[in-house]
Amino acid sequence: MKAPPHPLSPEVRPLTLRDLAWLTASLAVVIAPHMLRAPWWLTLLTLCLYGWRFYFMLTRAPLPSRWLVVAVAFIGMLGVWMEYRTLFGRQPGVILLMLFSGLKLLESRHHRDGAVAAFLGYFLIVTNLLYTQSIPTALAMCVGVFMITATLVGFSAPQRAPRANLRTAALLLAHAAPAALALFVLFPRVQGPLWGLPQDAYAGMTGLSETMSPGTLSQLALSDAIAFRAEFEGDSPPQPLRYWRGPVLWDFDGRTWTAGIGYLVGFQPPQDGRATYHYSVVLEPHNHYWLFALETAAGLPERSRMTQDGQVLSLSPVRNRLRYDMVSVIDPARDPRESRGTLGRALRLPADYNRRTLALAAEWRAPGGTDVDLLNRGLAFLRQGRFTYTLEPPILGADSVDEFFFDTKAGFCEHFASAFAVLMRAAGVPARVVTGYQGGDLNPVDRIITVRQSDAHAWTEVFLAGRGWVRIDPTAAAMPQRVDAGLARALPQNQALPLLMRPQMEWLRSVRYRWEAVAHKWNVWVLGYNPERQRELMLSLGMRDADWQKLTAVLFTFLGAMTIVLLAWSLRRLARPDPVQKAWQAFCRKLAARGVVRSPHEGPRDYSTRAARALPGSRRPILRIAALYIALRYGGGASKPGTARLKRLVRQLELA
């Protein structure tokens, strides 16, 4: 006999309108974030494919032939290729996946295809995480997972009310949470990547770069994006001391400063210093090597090196949020020695640029003062020059320093730093430009300093004989309030500031502080949970050298225990038998012990009558119990006191 098709098998259960509606709705939810990034025509094409599938469902027309689907896929891929000139890489890959969700839907006839499309939905959720992993993204992810799960539940219970299916999906996710948490914490983590990533994997990260030309930092300063957060043990340093050292720029071509080649040196912690700060930094990925530290770094985090000009560099580009611990001292004793080659590099200037500045420096140098005199003269020049500090500096030509000093007299910190370094070099004082961040916002909620791109800053260092490299902030010299009070106070009132830096946005800022405190915890504990953090956590839980074998053992023990608890929970509500029934069974056992066994067909009335006849000594209690049982079981329903009485009577029954 040929077996009829298995009615629970997903291969034979056709996709109904309801199934399709759920599937499409959940796919629409998960592709929504991608729609903002994909080219408009691809979004439209995908939505058309969804709509087309509905058309087939409503008209009950046979689905399009495989060839047509392949043709649409080909056209879509051609379009993606025209748009990106490649089919691989993150962005084209993700939007192709979005297109395939529509194509899969178009060829879905049965629940099996539907389930595959639903699993594809899980992929689409994960691909969105390549772009953002913030708390709102996590919430959106939960909605997507919930919808897809409800869709799958709907597949396996097509006759059930959607509300009940939603409840089941919610229950499933709630039951999944403990296991998910255990897996998240205990699953042995491996540091990625396992293989090469596409070229564009790290596109679109903002931050400082290895070069600086007029306008670089003032552009960056318009961004509210977070550069890093620092959490200090104890007090945090006051605003004027918060110079976060980044790339040091040596080479100037007349317009642009570049970092050039850096030399790694063995790290020697600086001596003395006014104050020591211990803190941890959570650095946003910026796809470069440098790590930011408060000047002057007195310790090196793991997997990092120091260059001879005092930059802390990671061993690999920072492509994921990175957390590291740092120690810094303020104003340590500096090494007064420097190699001739380095000093020569710090004096080099392009010949035919900025002639007016060169002439001015030559004029200063003529009387033959010390380097300190020249430095003071330069600072005085900045202070008295009536310079304007602005986020919208005028565009400068080839002789950018000349134009800034003598014509426009308006600029952002990179103009001040660049021009001052050129002036010093021209006067014969070795100088270099340091970029980084200055200041940062102290969150009163969790005492964490948030440094944004808008805090980007550039200053200079000059080499003074006998004192070594000394930090000189030309911006601070010209505009003392920039460093003391931050960017917002230093700029004229009418300038367009990043929204959150505007003073009148006080209340908004307090909300933002709270939110950022939460977001910071999220970054550290959820997004920043990596192999290192896992080791730290295990150590703090008393598990030394937690290798993958130990972690796996603990994990499986936990998962096993959790499954048993879950199973016990689900059976608990079933295991409890009806107390009335239980009492009755106890009664039957008592009678059976005296030889009056109830036969399966015998109802309570017949049985008790027979028992009363067989045991005339206990006639009354037997009949009473039976009458009560009948009333409780078949009457108006069991009441609490009635049940208690039945239990008592059965317990007290002494068969004569």
């Binding site: 992929f123 499933l172 039951h175 999944a176 998910a180 293989w195 079933l574």
Partner: protein
């Protein structure tokens, strides 16, 4: 291969699957009897999770890990839920109406949720006949399953083994359990259509009673009595009045008819004899005569009506040649 092994060793299969001899009364599917394995879709789900995990490692996606692990936890929870969908459900059987050999016996199974939650999409499949049905069992309620089991031979037809299966809620696991409630259906011999035998001389004892109530000619209405066949109730008249009324007929046949084993040709095989007798019973009942049945060792006194018919057919169904 495993199936072949189990077929050869029924005791091994019994032990492995928890097969039990037919059970009286209500059978509860204790969790020891519920088996569970992943489905093909489950394998696909695991594949999906693996890809998600590798992707999360490669791109260091913390939320990707979170999603992967949430789905993994959901898989485990799904397993428990699938097992729960069957666990501790109670199965009882209803009465199966007798059928003639060659027809299908309609066995009724009642699935009692015995739980505060509903148990959707439960497949009941009769293993021998592959007859199957999917039902949703409501919370704290019953669902009826009707399994049509072919009845090829007369006699008692035992229900046999029934598999209950579910893949709810995610379809990535299938849980199943075997039950064999002690239920049987009476199968009458396949009736053979043939003309009624002429009343024998000795069977004409009641010929004087006249007019005999019969099925042939409509004779009027009288009030309903409990023993009346529902086929004779004057439903149109009932609809008009409050009282149940029965149509009365008078039969022409006045004699008692004995359907006698001994009057069949001796060379006729046993089953054919019984078939012919069963055919006669039906014919006699239709024609409205009083009829009795005589088999070796069995004699059913003449009578008519549904009870008489059932008694005669049962005797034929259970007749054993000695």
């Amino acid at each position: 291969m495993i199936n072949a092994l189990l077929e050869k060793n029924p005791r091994l299969a019994n032990w492995l699957y928890g097969f039990t001899p037919p059970e009286q009364g209500t059978v509860t599917l204790v969790h020891r009897r519920v088996y569970i394995v992943p489905t093909q879709l489950g394998a696909l789900f695991v594949l999906t999770l693996t890809i998600l995990l590798v992707g999360s490692i490669n791109y260091s996606l913390s939320l990707g890990f979170a999603l992967t692990f949430l789905l993994a936890g959901m898989g485990i929870a799904g397993m428990v839920h699938t097992a729960r969908n069957l666990a501790r459900m109670a199965v009882s059987v209803g009465r199966a109406e007798p059928v003639f050999a060659g027809e299908a016996a309609q066995f009724r199974l009642y699935l009692d949720a015995r739980a505060g939650f509903d148990r959707p999409a439960i497949l009941a499949r009769h293993l021998r006949s592959r007859s199957q049905m999917v039902v949703d069992v409501p919370a704290a309620g019953l669902a009826e399953v009707v399994l049509a089991v072919p009845a090829p031979r007369r006699g008692w037809l035992p229900l046999g083994r029934v598999m209950l299966e579910t893949r709810f809620p995610l379809g990535i696991f299938r849980a199943w359990s075997y039950v064999e409630p002690a239920a049987r259906c009476l199968v009458y011999p396949r009736p053979e259509r043939s003309a009624l035998p002429a009343p024998a001389a000795e069977s004409a004892r009641g010929a004087l009673r006249s007019p005999t109530p019969g099925n042939d000619d409509y004779a009027g209405l009288r009030t309903y009595q409990l023993s009346d066949s529902p086929r004779h109730v004057a439903w149109k008249a009932v609809a008009r009045s409050e009282d149940m009324l029965t149509k009365q007929f008078t039969g022409e046949a006045s004699a008692e008819l004995w359907l006698d084993w001994a009057r069949l040709a001796p060379q006729l095989p046993l089953e054919q004899r019984l078939s012919r007798l069963a055919g006669w019973v039906l014919e006699a009942e239709r024609s409205g005569v009083h009829y009795g049945l005589r088999l070796p060792g069995v004699e059913i006194a003449p009578g008519r009506g549904d009870a008489q018919r059932a008694a005669c057919l049962q005797a034929l169904a259970l007749y054993e040649d000695r």
